[in-house]
């Protein structure tokens, strides 16, 4: 038997309330400034570098995102590090704070379903992150145009926009994870620590650990180039369990038109060059081709968001309301 009414009635109300909570909270202000200041700092120093090195580059704007002064991380790596932190900061107490404030049973006694509460909280988090990332993106592009004095081409803007979209999905993964932990753990502190712990593991420890794990499944003998590629595939598959790695791969391809395969950086680190029949090494790919290369990774990220959210959703539906 179907339940009456819409699961989404009250969704807009919950979302607007959560959004205004986010945007007015001190936590949010601190995190926004953290991201904006870091990013602008990185870009500003990066621009000095770009002006000295690559005046002839046709994709100058994209270099803003990927280049950095010696010894400093690029904007993309700063983002892949800070975005999870902000997303966890937004989401880690979304459901358990309702329990601890004892507002959950009172709100659920209003004519809405639990679905609306959870969807509303997730959407409000995504909108908050989007506002922040769009503002940051506009600032970087604007700063770049101002300081470099060269207007960007249509393809550059399209690539940079695609990168923004992927960053929002990446933020969604961590938000969904934080939301899940806020449902599972009654204490906000525990939820925050668990989410941060997993984040540390996936971004710091897993990239170091995954080659060794992959080595367990790899044969020692490499007899042909296809063997080598298969091995690299396996190593990459393990590394991709970390969303940060996945994000790095996608953004790397999107922002550098000369990259023809997500394996290229890995091969280059081994001193090898990927040669594809009928292609000129180092020539830029059209945007659509770059998008095709990273489409599977992008789908994987979207799938991760949906999966984490669904686990949280099912857990929340099965939980008892009373504390």
């Amino acid at each position: 038997m179907q339940r009456e009414g819409s699961a989404f009635s009250g969704l807009g109300v919950v979302m607007l309330k959560e959004l205004s909570d986010h945007l007015t909270s001190w936590r949010m202000v601190i995190m926004e400034w953290l991201v904006v200041l870091t990013a602008v700092g990185v870009v500003y120093t990066g621009i000095q570098q770009i002006r000295e090195v690559s005046a002839e580059d046709p994709f100058l704007l994209l270099r803003l995102f990927t280049r950095a002064r010696e010894g400093l991380p690029s904007l993309v790596s700063v983002l892949s590090f800070l975005v999870p932190l902000v997303a966890i900061g937004i989401g880690f107490d979304s459901v358990n704070s309702e329990r601890n404030q004892r507002t959950l049973s009172r709100i659920l006694a209003q004519p809405i379903y639990r679905d609306a509460l959870l969807f509303g909280k997730f959407l409000a988090g995504i909108v908050t992150l989007t506002i922040m990332l769009v503002a940051l993106w506009l600032m970087v592009v604007g700063l770049g145009i101002l300081m470099l004095g060269i207007p960007p081409g249509a393809e550059e803007v399209a690539r940079a926009t695609a990168m923004l979209g992927v960053t929002i999905i990446y933020a969604g993964i961590w938000l969904a994870l934080a939301l899940l932990f806020s449902i599972v753990f009654r204490s906000a502190t525990t939820a925050a620590l668990a989410a941060l712990g997993l984040w540390l593991f996936l971004t710091m420890i897993w990239p170091m650990l995954s080659p060794y794990v992959a080595a367990l499944f790899v044969s020692d003998t490499v007899s042909s180039s296809s063997d080598l590629l298969n091995q690299l595939d396996l190593i990459q598959s393990f590394a991709r369990l970390s969303p940060g790695t996945l994000y790095g791969e996608i953004v790397g391809v999107l922002l550098d038109p000369t990259i023809r395969s997500t394996q290229q950086p890995l091969l280059a680190s081994l001193g090898l060059v990927l040669l594809q029949p009928g292609s000129i090494p180092g020539a830029p790919l059209p945007l659509l081709q770059s998008l095709l290369i990273v489409w599977p990774q992008t789908v994987a990220m979207i799938a991760a968001v949906i999966m984490l959210f669904v686990i949280g959703y099912v857990t929340f539906q099965r939980q008892e309301v009373r504390a």
Binding site: R102, T103, R106, A109, V321
Partner: protein
Amino acid sequence: MSQDAVIEATGLTKSYGAATAVDHISFSVGRGEIFGLLGPNGAGKTTTILMLLGLTDISAGAVRVLGFNPAREPLSVKRRVGYLPDTVGFYDNLTAADNLRYTARLIGFRSAEREKRIAEALDRVGLADNADKRVSTFSRGMRQRLGLAEILMKGAQIAILDEPTSGLDPHATSELLGIIRGFKSEGVTVLLSSHLLERVQSVCDRVALFSVGRIALMGSVAELGREVLGGGYVVDIEADGAGLAERLAIIPGVSSVDKTGIGKLRLHADRDVRPEAAAEVVAMQGRLKYLGVQEPSLEAIYTRYFEGKPQEAMQEGTRHAA
């Protein structure tokens, strides 16, 4: 039971695995009644309430609230029923009015109606002056009153109040009970739970005494008193005069006279013998200082009932152990 029942539960059961929190309870609440679910903590009162609201699954049995099935039509039930949870919480960073505004939006009131209802409700519970103060500054009693304001604003036909008076000082309690009586005068049915028997005795029309997931006793306090304490009346009298006890003992209907102190007597009778007792004292030219009949108290009923059921008390012990 009655034709006008707004809540009807039959064989309502909730079990968590092997443990049974609510065990086949049946009751019905009539329109405009104040019905009390009384009993110690952990007796199944809150679980029963959550089942009425469709906030937790029903393991067995059936319940209708205003003719709706809470498990299948929770939105219809929740639109018409107001709920004040045990130790109600509000968003501390919002003002009292903003907290109510959020609820009002969730219910779906339009903005003009919303503001009118909120102002009226806050006025009714005496929080109009605090409407724009943050809830973090509110005392416990104010929070409870804000919770009642939410129910008033909602225009609920049934108000379900879980432990509304727990943790309140006597003044706040009597204020709260006053508001609850106000609900009744407007035809709102009130279902309230409490473990503080004597506090709620004064407002309840009928009560159900819970014990380990079952309803042990149900009825009005007077009915229960007759049933459990035995139909007798207890009249206390304080007067001086020699031989008064003997004279009182021969009043028809008096079964015994006990001396409870100097010049104090307690009569057990099968009817209210106050007029005759007063007449006797006056006839002896004694001075009557006090004359009163004891109302049956829930506390006494509860204690007496479970004293009389030692085997049930033992069962309680084993269940808690399990």
